[in-house]
Amino acid sequence: MSWDVFIWFALAALLLWSVGACFAWKDKVKPVYAFTFAGLAVFFSFILWMWIALERPPMRTMGETRLWYSFFMPLAGIIVYSRWRYRWILSFSTIMAAVFICVNLLKPEIHSKAIMPALQSGWFAPHVIVYMFSYAIFGAATLMAIYMICFKRSETSARELDITDNLVYVGTAFLTFGMLFGALWAKQAWGTYWAWDPKETWAAITWLCYLLYLHYRKARPDNWRTACIILFVAIICLQICWWGINYLPSANMSMHTY
């Protein structure tokens, strides 16, 4: 099965991303783009291969969603880099991608061709892809918040806040897409667009957290520490929504467990 060769694709992609991240520290812009995009191409070709081999989108299991996360993290990193030239962002996004790749290598989940009828829908791919992209963007925003809280105790710069805000704006847009695509799909599959299923409840919670951030930043632009704390709460809620829900006793009846 194609999963066996994952390690080689992953190592190649990680190597390319790492080289790209090193060039970022040396401010060599062109090699940064070349290596990062080469890594993304290598990684995406594996995803594409899985898609073809499985004859379905590789998004069903947690392992498969982690695959997308590992892909989107460096993509989010390079987008941030292209706009703000932050030297360290690609190193962090590469480390994040590596963590998720390791989880996939250590805990591979069975990837069979089977896909239950409930998931056979045109909404499946866009719903999962935009969600994973927003999760990756929020991951980057959380890194910014950690950086500001830990290394910028006295004063933070307008630029750092600006990056964080932009990430949250883009992430919230994609989170909204993911949630509403889910609602439109649910109407098509189950007859109801919103049923307060535990996964839906936690999706609403995550969404409210980021709405709170957006409103709070406008209400109190100077209290950036509180804004960072909102981001920490938000990322915890996001993790509960993504995978924590499977361990939550209140959610053992969820229709979203596959």
């Binding site: 061709k113 883009v170 919103w194």
Partner: protein, 301 residues
């Protein structure tokens, strides 16, 4: 406190007040009875809500709290309360009976309902405020706030009108009756004749496809034939017909197929809200994000 201009503190106190009122209502009047919002009460409630928002807007110069409600000082505490109560909902197993008193039935818990209503009032007012001071650059704000208001308000008020019935059809028989979740059966304006239930499997035995070949008849004499698949419902006379179940013991040989029939007259309004939110989210990303700070400000670092 309570001196102009009001800030967030007042918002937190009002939210706390709403929760206390909600708890009192819960004790005195019992849980929220959504079924009493069935047509035409819900349309009247919607009109009253819209009028209320209009009147609050008109009086904003004379009644300061209405002015304040349109601003972030009101929005932030309201989101904090809505978020906290929704987290409680996410942590407490939701069930019709048993569980934790009050918290296991959050959707009929007065404080939850009051806080979300408060949020709809605030977003409705904010939307109206931007609508009446219309400028092109206000469109993103308007799409987001009016979209949320429409989607959530209409979904909530319209829910008691929503019909969700299940119909069990045996092969080659025409069925006119369907039953609601309480088991009460009623005759519909459409009937379903099952020709064949279809179940395909993967080589490993997991199900690949559930579908039914059917013909739908209407009281008006219309006849529609087709296949209903999971994820591919059929629409006839305002009813959406979903593949819902089959005889699990018999599997592919099941002699009957179960359908879910859904009719929601409010769906057009709800979808309008959802599409406004989608457009609003696109605008959020493209136009509402703060512009990158200029070069000279980068020196701060």
């Amino acid at each position: 406190m309570w001196t102009k201009p009001w800030k967030m503190k007042e918002g937190f106190l009002i939210g706390g007040g709403l929760i206390i009122i909600g708890i009192l209502l819960q004790i005195l009047a019992g849980p929220v009875d959504w079924s009493c919002f069935a047509w035409p009460v819900n349309i009247i409630a919607l009109i009253i809500l819209l009028l209320l928002i209009g009147v609050m807007y008109a009086l904003r110069k004379r009644v300061y709290p209405f002015e304040w409600m349109m601003h972030l000082g009101a929005a932030v505490p309201c989101i904090v309360y809505a978020l906290s109560l929704t987290i409680v909902m996410g942590l407490c197993f939701q069930t019709e009976t048993g569980g934790i008193p009050w918290l296991s039935r959050m959707l009929v818990f007065w404080p939850f309902v009051l806080i979300w209503t408060w949020m709809m009032l605030i977003s409705g007012l904010a939307a109206l405020n931007h609508l009446l001071r219309f400028k092109l650059k206000e469109i993103p704000f308007l799409l987001n706030h009016a979209g949320v208001f429409l989607a959530i308000t209409l979904a909530t008020l319209g829910n008691p009108d929503k019909k969700e019935l299940t119909m069990t059809c045996y092969q080659d028989e025409v069925e006119w009756k369907a039953s609601d979740e309480m088991g009460a059966s009623e005759e519909l304006d459409i009937a379903i004749e099952l020709h064949k239930f279809i179940m395909d499997k993967y080589p490993d035995g997991t199900p690949k496809r559930f579908a039914s070949d059917i013909t739908v008849y209407t009281k008006g004499g219309k006849e529609v034939s087709g296949t209903v698949d999971v994820n591919k419902p059929m629409k006839v006379n305002g009813w959406k017909i979903y593949q819902y179940g089959y005889d699990v013991k018999m599997g592919a040989e099941s002699a009957f197929s179960e359908f879910l029939l859904v009719r929601d007259r409010w769906i057009a309004g709800i979808y309008t809200g959802i599409f406004m939110m989608l457009a609003g989210a696109l605008c959020l990303m493209l136009f509402m994000a703060p512009k990158p700070v200029k070069e000279e400000r980068r020196d701060i670092q």
